[in-house]
Structure formats: C-alpha cells, structure tokens
C-alpha cells in the first residue's frame, strides 16, 4: 500500500510531463486498436461465411460467367444439398462514392442457403411477388435512409442502362458478423432484360452457391464438382465460402501488411517517447535513489520503484486509450458507412492493446532501472539534478 502511494506521488510529481506522456500513450493505444479493428473488418467476410456453403466460379477468373445449365448438373453431384446462384450487378447509386455490393440472385433458394438473413415473412412474400423488387440489409437502408416501398435507381456498369428497383424488404443479421450492407435483386428479371438487349449474354451465372450438409467433406465435394466440368468450355473452381472470401482479402494483402507494420511502428514510437520520460525521471532523482540506497534499501527496491512508476503510467494511459477506442470505433464505423460491412472492436484487440501498454511500460523502464540499480552512492549524493 505504502509503495503504491509512493509510486503515485512519484508519477505525478511532474504533472505536465506525465500528462503529456499519457496523452501520447492514449493516442497510440487508440490508433493501435483502430488499425487492428480495420484489419478485422477486412476479414469480416471470411468470419461471416458459413462452413456449409461452397462457391463455384469459372476457373479462368471471377469475371467469366458460367452457363445456366450447370445448375441441374450441380444438383446431381453427391453431397450437394441445395443450390442457388448470383451475379454481381455492380451498379452505381447516384455516384461512385456510394459503393455497396449488389447481387442478382434466385430468391427462394438463396434465402434458404442464407438463414442468417432475418426477413419478415410479409416482406419476403412481397419481394418474391415483385420482379422489380429488391431487399437490402439494415445497415445499408439506414445509411441512405431507405424505407420499404422506396424506389432505388441504379446505373449499370456491367449491365448497361438505368435500372429502377422497388425496395420490398429489409433484413437484419442473425449475428453481429452478418453482412447487412448488400442489395439483392431478382436474377430472372435481370436475365430477361439482358436477353432483349444482348441475347448472347443471357443465361449466364456469376457464381453458384452450393449448400452441403457435411462440412467435413467440403474438399471432397469441391473436387467432385470440378471433375464434372473438367475440359469443358467453362471449367469451374469450387472452394468453401471462406476460401472464396479470403481470395478477395489476399488481393489487398500488400495494404494489410502495411497496416500491420504501421500498428507495430506506433507501439515503437510510443516506446521511444515513454523511455525518454523514464530516462529523465531517473536522471532527476539520482540523489533520491542514492539516499534510499544509503539508508540500506536494496538495489532491487530502486528497480521496483522505477518499473512500478513506468507501469503505472503505462497502465493508466493504456486503460484510457482502451476506453476511448470504443466510441471512436463507433464514430469511424458511422463515417465509413458500408465500406466495412462489420466494424467491431474484438476482445482480442482489447487484450492486445493492454499488452502493448504493459510492454511499453516495462521496456521503457528497463534501461534507466538497470542504470539506477548500479549507481555509486557517493556519486549519486553529490549529484544535483
């Protein structure tokens, strides 16, 4: 108890310096947490994918469609329980800045494969009835202030023309990691409109989504599917949904590596600032430490004092940073809108933030503490700060 009191008194002897150090710490710990959350958000699509879904796409690349008639053949593959398909629409809502994913899907089978999209029964029926109808996730509707019954105009990039859709339903995610930032439209409506304009481009499917009942056999089933279409005009590549989502993440790997490196650099910078503070503290109190040693306190006590002070400052700063991260992340999620479908500070991030603060505190005190434990008493007593 006495020690703690001494530590507190010591830590706040230089109010200005200590508070400055803490400001630096708070900012760094906050930034560290936010960056980690951004990386998590990048992987959100992978986290939100289900192990009971496979995605089949063209082996050449995602931009090549698969023929519609594959659906029947896919259904007959052993292990495939359900099947649906979707096309990337890639339309622009008002301007390019309002990007959000839009898919043309086969409604009944798609909703059956994605039970985590919670849609009211009345809205579901309304969507199935209206060929120009669409449903959107709650987050997306909130962003643009859409209500059921609104008209949503989209300018096509892949499918030319201006398309107008009627909003028929808004789904809520079953879990926090469920994507609520998409728009789903009727595949058949898109297909028939395209058939009138470009007959050759009709009956094309972007990806098939396969439902499986035995996740442990995912690899085997994928292999069976791809063997079906080997050496055909459109070879397929089937992988689990999470692998499919990961392939998007790995595209921007370079950026992720950079963000990761940066979050480490933050910790190093704050270490430098903190070590600086502790070195000064130690230098100023040389005479005190010498006095303590002259009174018979062991060198380890001096070390404890320095470490304790450093850890105390680091912990207070770290906790404040942690507390500030949550509202900041919420604000950031608001600002980024649908750019990140899911944006949450994970418990792992929080524990890493605390760990970083403790490591910074310990490392910063190491060198001064070692030096102070070895001071010559006579020299120390002579020293005037």
């Amino acid at each position: 108890m006495f020690i703690l009191k001494l530590l507190l008194k010591n830590a706040f002897r230089h109010k200005l310096r200590t508070s400055l150090t803490m400001v630096g710490l708070v900012v760094a710990i906050c930034a560290f947490g936010l960056l980690r959350t951004i990386i998590d958000a990048w992987y959100a699509g992978v986290e939100g994918s289900s192990s009971t879904r496979l995605v089949t796409r063209s082996a050449i690349s995602l931009t090549f469609p698969l023929p519609m008639n594959y659906a029947q053949r896919l259904k007959s593959v052993e292990g495939v329980a359900g099947i649906s398909w979707s096309n990337w629409f890639g339309g622009i809502y008002i301007s390019e800045r309002n990007f959000f994913p839009q898919f043309a899907v086969e409604p009944v089978s798609y909703l059956a494969l994605y039970p985590e999209y919670r849609l009211k029964d009345a809205e579901r029926i309304a969507w199935l009835r209206d060929r120009q109808g669409v449903i959107v996730g709650r987050k997306l509707a909130d962003k643009f202030g859409w209500k059921v019954g609104d008209q949503i105009p989209l300018r096509g990039t892949i499918y030319p023309g201006t398309w107008t859709f009627n909003l028929r339903g808004i789904w809520d995610g079953a879990e926090a990691k469920t994507d609520e930032s998409q728009l789903l439209m009727h595949w058949s409506y898109l297909n028939e409109s395209i058939r009138k304009l470009y007959p050759k481009r009709a009956d094309a499917v972007g990806v098939y989504i396969l439902g499986i009942n035995e996740p442990q056999n995912a690899a085997l089933i994928s292999q069976r599917v791809d063997e079906q279409f080997k050496n055909s005009l459109a070879e397929t590549l089937t992988e689990t949904e999470s692998a499919f989502q990961l392939s998007f993440v790995s595209m921007s790997e370079a950026i992720l590596v950079a963000i990761n490196a940066v979050s480490l650099i933050i910790v190093v910078i704050i270490m430098a600032v903190m070590a600086n503070t502790m070195t000064m503290t130690a230098r100023e109190r040389l005479a005190e430490y010498a006095t303590l040693k002259a009174l018979g306190f062991a060198p380890s006590f001096v070390v404890k004092l320095l470490f304790g002070e450093s850890l105390l400052i680091a912990l207070i700063g770290g906790l404040a940073g942690l507390a500030l991260t949550l509202p900041l992340a919420a604000g950031f999620a608001q600002a980024a809108g649908t750019l990140f479908p899911v944006f949450q500070v994970s418990t792992l991030t929080m524990s890493l933030q605390l760990l970083a603060a403790i490591v910074v505190g310990a490392v910063a005190a190491a060198w001064p503490a070692w030096k102070m434990s070895r001071i010559d008493i006579v020299q120390g007593l002579r020293h005037v700060a």
Partner: protein
Amino acid sequence: MRAIPLSYIARNLWVRRVTTLLTAGGMALVVYVFATVLMMSEGIRATLVATGQPDNVIALRKGAGAEINSAVDRGQAAILESLPGIATDASGKPLLTKEPVVLNNLPKRGSGKPSNVTVRGTSPQALQMRPQVQLVEGRMFRPGTSEIVTGRAIASGFQGAGLGETLRFAGRDWTVVGVFDAQRSGFDSEIWGDAEQMLQAFRRNVFSSVVFRIADASQFEAIKAQIEADPRMTVELKPEMQFYAEQSEALAKFISILGTALSVIFSIGAIVGAMITMFAAVASRTGEIGTLRALGFRRGAVLIAFLGESLLLSLVGGLIGLAAASLMQTVNISTTNFQTFSEIAFQFKLTSAIVWQTLLFALFMGFVGGFIPAWGAARMKIVDCLRAA
C-alpha cells in the same frame, strides 16, 4: 537584437545524446510512415499515368469505366477504323489496335496464392503505339498462334509466366516466347497475345476496347463529337492519359487518406515526445537561461534559441526518416487495384515535392512541440532563474 549562436543550440542536443536520439527516433518513424505513404500514392499514379500516351485515344462502351466490363463489337470497331485523322505507320497501316481484355486468375510464385492478371489480346501494332514497351527477352508473339509475351512484373511474380514456360488458361497451353519491359507502366502487369486467338479461346465475339493514335491531337474533340453523333455507336472516346489516370484514382486516394489519417495520429505522439524533451531541456537549464538573460540576451533571443533547438531536433529526425524512406525505392509492391479488379505492380517513388513536404512536416512537428516550452523559457524572470541555479 543579438541572437544566441547556433553552436550553443547544437551542442545542447549533443550533451543529451540518449534523449535526443530517442526523440529524434520517434520523429523519424513518423516521418518515415508519412513519406512512404506519399511515395506509394505517387508510385501508383506514376505507373498508371506512364501507361497512357498523350496522342492515343481509347474507345470503351459508354459507362464501362474499365476495360474489363467494356464491349466494342466488330461493326463499331470497323467504323472507328475508318475515321479520318488516324495516324499511320511507315507502311501506311493505321495505328489502331482492337483489343479483347480479360482477367485471368493465376497463382503467384512462392505463395501460390491466385491473383487476377490482365490478359490483353492485341496486334503487333501495339508496340508502335506504346513506345514504352520494349522486349527484353525472347521475341514478339507470332500472330495467329498460341504464343504470348508477358510483362516483367508478371514474368517474375507468377508461376509459369517466365520465358519458355507455358501457362494454361481458356482450355489451351500458351507458350511464353518473350518478356517485355514497359518502363514501370501498367503494362508490366499484363500478358499479351494475339487478339483473334484470345477471342476464340475465351469464346467472345466483342473487343473490350479500341485504341488508336490521332495524327493531330487538337482534332480529338472533333472526332469525339462525330462519334457521339453517330447513332450506331455506343462507345465513348477518352484520351488514354485521362483514362489511366482515372483508373488509379480510387486506389491512390484510398492510400493517401489512410496514410494522412495515420500520419496525423502519429504526429501527435511525436509532438508530445518533442514537448517532453524540450520541457526537460528548459527545466534543467533554468540557470543557463538566467545567465543568458543577465548577459543581455533578449527574451526573443532565448525563445528563438529554444525553438531552434526543437526545430533542429525535428530536422535530424526528418532526415533519418527520409533516409530510411528513400531505401524503400528499391521495393516492388504488387496489389489489386480494386477499380479494375486486376493486379498492378508499382514502386515507391520519391520526388523532390515529397522530400519538401516531408521535411516541412517534420519541422512543423518540431515547431508545435517546441513552441510552448520555448515560450515558457522566454517568459521566466531573471532573478528566479538565477536563484534556481
């Protein structure tokens, strides 16, 4: 007013070597991040801008925005071919290529992770229209065969894309007969083959884009108006330079926004570090300040001396950071440009503008961090200072 000599300022920093180095080190890291981010955006921009030629024009389907989702059918390509004002080569052929562009998912060397590579069907004309592209190994593909040439970044970065190797896509084996260097432009991340062969292999019957050179660049607007007035045409014309600049916009912007946000957050940490150091410097030299004032140096001189010390500190940090950042120029990065959904390789590019921006940024940090302590030092009363010593 006499100023306090610079040597006094520099010597003060030298006396507290450890503290100086720690503070400057923190600043150097911030400056390093700041500079690399700017270099990255610049690198992406330079790569894509170098891809376009000033007198080349690209025709895409209206509203397509990228070659991948554009379509120009043979009829429209023929109309473009018959336009007056297209430049011709020495043998009188028009300088125009009709190109199908597709994405192909290929595994990277080393990691084996697949990434989307742009495959471009083209004609031998392309080399004349894109003077920055030079074959460095092997030869050009022969028209009408399954031969391909690969860009340098692809040849070194993807499995089976090196000279003499074969790539399998679209149900055929394609032999790599040459590797070209496109002087760090976007073509470095592409695979080129014969246009007609590509159309057949990928079972397409439309080109993605038509690129042609106009003999007189001032005629562009007239040609554009002529095409727009033609009811058979669903294409829009753009100067190639503008087209490629637009392609890089989103990625460069994203990186610079992210980088600026980070730099601002970091700089707070560095400024705090500088402040702590300067406050300590002032506190431990109270006696000196009193002596200086007693000798007749004015308040302003003391202010300038301490501010100068802080600025010098940040300059040291800035130079260390810049030196580290300039080492990044040798690093090649490749990532996916999410606007075109395809691989793009680029380098960090250091320009004199970035050097200036970075140093100014460093000095700004030093100024903000040092001003309050220096102000405090200048405001002290002589008597108090001397008493404290």
